[in-house]
Symmetry: C2
Subunit: 353 residues, 2 copies
């Protein structure tokens, strides 16, 4: 006969410590696959230990925390959980890349109403793949079960990355830095990356009546879910080998706040950026959001990357060599998209003559 | 005449970029008050830059991510938002302290359904105070507005800490490490710290019918809200000056999973910990939870710290000198609470003879 449990337990209150431990251990192999010899100590410790790289002159640690926002709502609707972790890793990698840093390690945070082992394993697996692809160790994390705060199926993610850069190599450059006459080069994005999903979902799903499974002709066979879940591109594999050429004076990751808010973050006083929106054709998914939601043009470039996920600033004389180097490293979609002029440390988008 | 806006904007979809920026900038002074000369660069960059401490032989970076769980639900019920950030900083500090590391910097993550400037400012202010108190720089963070995922008033927090430790000083010690005959010393907690709130809320509020404002006689004049919101104690100010005496072989932060799950994380193979629950009297708030919820004894010590937030492992001969040193550094509540015996790398709690 089973003994009847009359008191309240953590499990009966909605938190299952054993299920959470099982979920995390199911991802152990994936996590450890991202570890190099710099990771010291074993799985399951209180903190992750990482050996500081030797041989640097004046190392600065560069760190950033981010979330994926409501891209998760799309992942949940499509029941696909192995890509959002990659999105977040790549987002974080880009955020320290724009300061010239290369990634060392990353920690993830997963919060959910109810731990589902398969979902947690897939999410952590995505983090681990993202880390491997960027030469970064997934060194720690936390999975929190919070019934009440999150609905059963809902979860939220955050991640923190730590990288390193020699002080002399920090971007934006301050010596021979950004000045009027410099040129903006845009690098293609894969889609929305991780920004603007609340607006996109409103336009596509609520107003447009589409679902993640819809395959509108504008997307040429791709489903809305696949277009929206396209993995945030990491620009590190392309740009880390090019940085030592010292042709890039500054770069801006086009995330929340779009072109107006992100480019000024790397501008000195006395200049502004002028982005020419006619220089490239937005990806089809952005055109759909704009047209279904009747989203004003200025708002589009303030919320979305519109097909350009990273902006590089270089001197006029370096434009051709930089484009050639980008091409030699596999990127033939880089384009001149604007210029630096005298101004008030702002960034404006022009839509025509 | 105002121009009528017919299209969808990010703001009309529920995300107000300007309000978020205003909320973060309102906390700028508090954030910068946690910065020492090691923080390089200005507020508002993509990533935080921190100068790696010099003069170390074999530095290991030690990092940890955590959340505060549903302690936030209590903070929201009590409409008090300036302490949860401190809770989280101290939680993170303790998690790397148990590996022998001192904190360098921390990054926060705040996610909410709707950005309320005052709440965000108070939360970030709490993070900043917690960081200042631990000599740690609040170097970055992310505030995410996610209508739909979080209800209006709801928010969730996570934080990531990065610290540093000389390889020779890493805990648990592997040379002359933990062995049978060693002694467990418990350090007093201030309350639940950041664990077990889902169970506590069920017992106190749902079953017991109490509110955050109730002042039951068991708490001697303190309200339930104040007892539950007591700030997670950081053991770094006490223990960092004592670590160089090298009397502590290992230490375990008693967080989620309580005594059975946390102590084994720092044990080598071949030994187990035996905790004597009669060695100390649990804080009144735990007795209330146990009795109102009729929570089984074993469950209490598996979910809560029961009044002991940090467990130190030391050799028998070092017990008296260590207790004396703790007292000399201001802690007179440290107690012997158990011992290490031969065993299977577990931790058991004994409730009597």
């Amino acid at each position: 006969m089973k003994k009847k449990q009359t008191g309240v337990t953590y499990k009966s209150a909605g938190v299952d410590i054993a299920a959470k431990a099982a979920a995390i251990w199911s991802a152990r192999e994936a996590i450890e696959s991202s570890w190099g010899p710099e990771v010291v100590g074993a799985f399951g410790g209180f903190g992750g230990l990482y050996r500081m790289p030797g041989g640097m002159k004046r190392p600065l640690l560069c760190s950033s925390t981010d979330g994926v926002g409501t891209k998760i709502a799309v992942a949940i609707a499509a029941n696909r959980h192995d890509t959002v972790g990659q999105d977040l890793v790549n987002h974080c990698v880009n955020d320290i890349l724009v300061q010239g840093a290369r990634p060392l390690f990353l920690l993830d945070y997963i919060a959910t109403g109810h731990v589902k082992k398969d979902v947690i394993r897939d999410v952590i697996g995505g983090f681990a793949k993202g880390c491997r692809d960027n030469g970064c160790a997934l060194i720690g994390g936390e999975t929190a079960e919070m019934p009440g705060t999150y609905r059963d199926d809902d979860y939220d993610l955050a991640a923190t990355i730590v990288g390193v850069v020699e002080e002399a190599d920090v971007l934006p450059r301050t010596k021979n830095g950004v000045k009027p006459g410099d040129v903006l080069i845009g690098l293609p994005s894969t889609g929305l990356h991780t920004n603007g999903y609340t607006l996109a979902r409103k336009a596509l799903f609520e107003i447009g009546g589409l679902t993640v499974k819809s395959k509108p002709k504008e997307l040429g066979g791709q489903s809305v879910g696949d277009a929206l879940l396209a993995v945030h591109r990491s620009y590190a594999p392309l740009l880390l080998p090019i940085l030592p050429e010292r042709r890039i004076k500054a770069m801006a990751h086009i995330t929340g706040g779009g072109f107006p808010d992100n480019i000024p973050r790397v501008l000195p006083e006395g200049v502004k950026a002028v982005v020419d929106a006619t220089a490239w054709k937005p990806l089809p998914i952005f055109e759909m959001i704009r047209s279904l939601g009747n989203v004003p043009n200025a708002e589009c470039y303030h919320v979305f990357n519109m097909g350009v996920g990273m902006v590089l600033v270089t001197s006029k004389k370096d434009v051709e060599p930089l484009l050639a180097s980008l091409k030699a490293h596999g990127e033939s979609g880089a384009k001149v998209i604007g210029e630096i002029v005298k101004g008030d440390r702002s960034s404006i988008v022009r839509f025509g003559r």
